[in-house]
Symmetry: D2
Subunit: 282 residues, 4 copies
């Protein structure tokens, strides 16, 4: 939107914006500073990852478009399905999640939906949005050790022992069993069985889960971060994109909550009912 | 992600977080302050718009999920296709768009992909991300006047005359014809012909386009903002969600550019090559 | 900070970053695109508003620096005092303000103090941070009408009648009398009496206050937004900078709360105690 | 600002917002969730760090207010001067710094000064805003080793050898000598000589500087991050607040640039002149 009055030279003829490009940028250093393989714009031309946008509109789904933009090629139908399941699963976890609460409060402050989404997405940092990324790193480590000759169980035990107290991707203080775990893992299993994905990160994730269950009365099952991390890694996304993809997914819930709140008539909503004042620490 | 150590009471038993909910919130005012129809969480239960998440994962596509979260029901297949085409069309317009440039620079500053996306999405304000929303408002006005008995052409002329100098959704300084216009309008036409959408906003948009072409050597054709605004409005989304949906769409391109840039090894990337210093205004 | 490995050409000699500036930018269009009167950088030289930075450090206070950067000249001591009083007055209003709550929640999400401040400052929009700006606009209107020959009381009554239901800068749901009002107004009075400021916006603000008190059992006294708006306007800052200056002021409280919260050990803090679940709207 | 219609219960009498606080929050868990020592609000009362706001307005400077809010006590005049010098020194480094460029572009996108500042401040991450924090950590390490009996030079050499390739706080690609270094270090020296600060972090910083100069034709002098880090640490601020204080300081330049840009009439400003298109990577 508003790419329009925003960017670009008028098509053909002399530019009202100054000298022509070859005089402004004779060495190409300016164009090169912003070089990209993601998209190419010419007057009348929009190519995304080398494909004219008109060939994509109406033919390629949103999930495939995400894959294309991030990786440069299109997924197979089965790959897209698996990615889509992960993206759908993590859209929301209610206003007790700081990202959702921030979105709702910001939506009452007069900053537009873009601003509400921005303040909220920003909170998906190392603690709130990083467990998937950290889980991919963990599983990658385990698989590297296994590839070097260590038994999977041993590799898992070592990686968990080296890591932080909260094993990223496992356990939930709220859900005894995360209802998103089983359907996601079933889809990965089927995909692995059909050769759509290798299945290695699934094996590694299960090894961690078994390890964390051993000898405990209350197991520490895989959570949404773990299950989606496995999917992203099985599909070949590097660890930081586990966070990036989560950002896209959670943006859906963030927008939905910001929108609902903006229809409820509050102005400058605080975190607790107005009659309650924060306690004072001495 | 990381809903896990984040939120919620341990399932069953006494809470380590303090007194039980009915003592903390006997009047329900605290729970009510955060009341929502978007999602419902109980230990072991995640419902999104009244549907258990496990019934959605693997069965509902991402675009349908967006519709569900924003509106509470699921779209038909044809509605979802039309929405998906609009979402796909607007993902990116290259680094000359401030949102994309901000994403790439931010990605070199050590703030994580969530932070880069947030700084960028935030810029999708009234000028950069608002044309679709403003276009829906314009088309709504025209249709209201038509419903009150004015001829469509007259209603369009009046609404344009009342509005700002740049008619939102029309004209492009860069593209003589926006390559996204035709495929998007074709899809709306077909949907209207098949009764999937009413077709009124399409008629109104075309009336504005005709008006802006009349007697000009260089017409001012509909741009991406106009074409997607028509789709969103035809599908029944209120005007502010034209911006909200654009935010979700452009987030894909924002993430792709932030990710590409983060792989290019720059630290604290400025806007122009390092050897060029900003000119000094007296 | 980290301007260092971030920006700039190596001083003297050939650049490792590519061709020299006069080849990269022969027309000056690239340097001109980023032209600014705010600062000038050369290797070994930093000038802020035309003054070498080494002449400012240790000699100019922070408030005077804010004035200098925004306006290009230095304030007198009395002007700086008045500005400083306004900046000090608005630093914080506790966690019931969404900006403060957002800062505290964000600080527990693993995004650094910069990210927490950003998510919070972003919420200072039209509703939460815009009343001062709107109040300046209102007072400007009143003074324009007065200058055109209308009595001040009449001008105030008309401007208030034309405006929104909440008169920006007046009334407070929390404080019957805002404790920041009197000390701020006393300072403006004294400054007007001494000829430091004209005193017109003060007169206009008082006229609005009188108007809103007339015939009411419960008056609607000026609040912090009104009192600081008067100061900013008396000192000659245009309306949008009333919001800009408030952003700088409130950033102090935002940072203080983010920092305190980050020391309290919570991860991904939600808005209400964990045992309470948001109510579900049907 | 706009704390007003935002927060709070009506003073005295029954609340239109629902039941009274002691019914809403009988256990105090809700008030306790937001407990803070930073500020206390009651109807008619605003206390900041235990001091009534009316005792601060007009009596305490902005820099002292920053200290008070972050630490709970007021600085001496000499402490405040030193802190003020550091805050003044780092306000701006021109549009080649991504934070400044982001502020200027965002200011043309229709998001208000709060939004422009937020997008910009957000970029002050580990790379762009973190060197001061990292430098404090480095100097702390050196001083800890020295306290344990190691010679300062040896401790410095070890800490630098353990650290990253770019030593945080030292060297500048742009400035052969940073013009902010000498005036800042002079102020610390004088403060140490007068017993205002201990002078240990200054000694440690100098030891690193000597180490990096030894045997090199081109020395690697302390930069703004290093010099301000020394000041913050000498004054007793913990490392993360070196970033936090930089955020406040740079916000001044960010606001000034956003404001200047918003007066130059561009809409949706991209990073390079419009006639130049980003190069396409194959």
């Amino acid at each position: 939107m508003s790419d329009s009055p925003a960017n670009g030279r008028p098509a053909g003829g002399a530019s009202p914006d100054g000298p022509p490009p070859d005089e402004v940028d004779p060495t190409g250093a300016v164009a090169g500073w912003w070089a990209t393989a993601v998209s190419r714009m010419e007057p009348g031309v929009i190519e995304l990852r080398g494909r004219p946008v008109q060939d994509l509109i109406g033919r390629v789904g949103l999930t495939s478009m995400i894959w294309l933009m991030l990786r440069g090629d299109l997924p197979t139908a089965r790959q897209a399905e698996l990615l889509e399941a992960a993206l759908v699963a993590a859209v929301d976890h209610g206003p007790q999640a700081p990202s959702i609460a921030v979105a709702r409060m910001a939506a009452t402050c007069g900053i537009g939906l873009n601003g509400a989404v921005a303040s909220a997405v920003n909170t998906l940092g190392d603690s709130h949005g990083g467990a998937g990324e950290q889980c991919v790193v963990l599983l990658d480590e385990i698989l590297r050790e296994e590839a070097a000759g260590t038994a999977l169980e041993t590799a898992a035990a070592r990686a968990v022992a080296r890591g932080p107290r909260y094993v990223p991707g496992f356990g939930h203080r709220f859900h005894p069993v995360d209802p998103r775990r089983d359907p996601l893992l079933s889809l990965v299993e089927r995909a692995a069985a059909d050769g759509v994905v290798p299945g290695d990160h699934l094996r590694a994730g299960r090894a961690v889960e078994d390890l964390l269950a051993a000898g405990r009365s209350r197991p520490v099952p895989m959570n949404i971060d773990g299950a989606t991390a496995i999917i992203y890694a099985e599909l070949g996304f590097p660890a930081p994109l586990a966070r990036g993809l989560f950002v896209l997914s959670r943006s859906v819930g963030i927008l939905a909550h910001a929108w609902e709140e903006s229809g409820q008539g509050r102005r400058n909503k605080g975190p607790i009912p107005r009659s309650v004042l924060p306690a004072h620490l001495a």
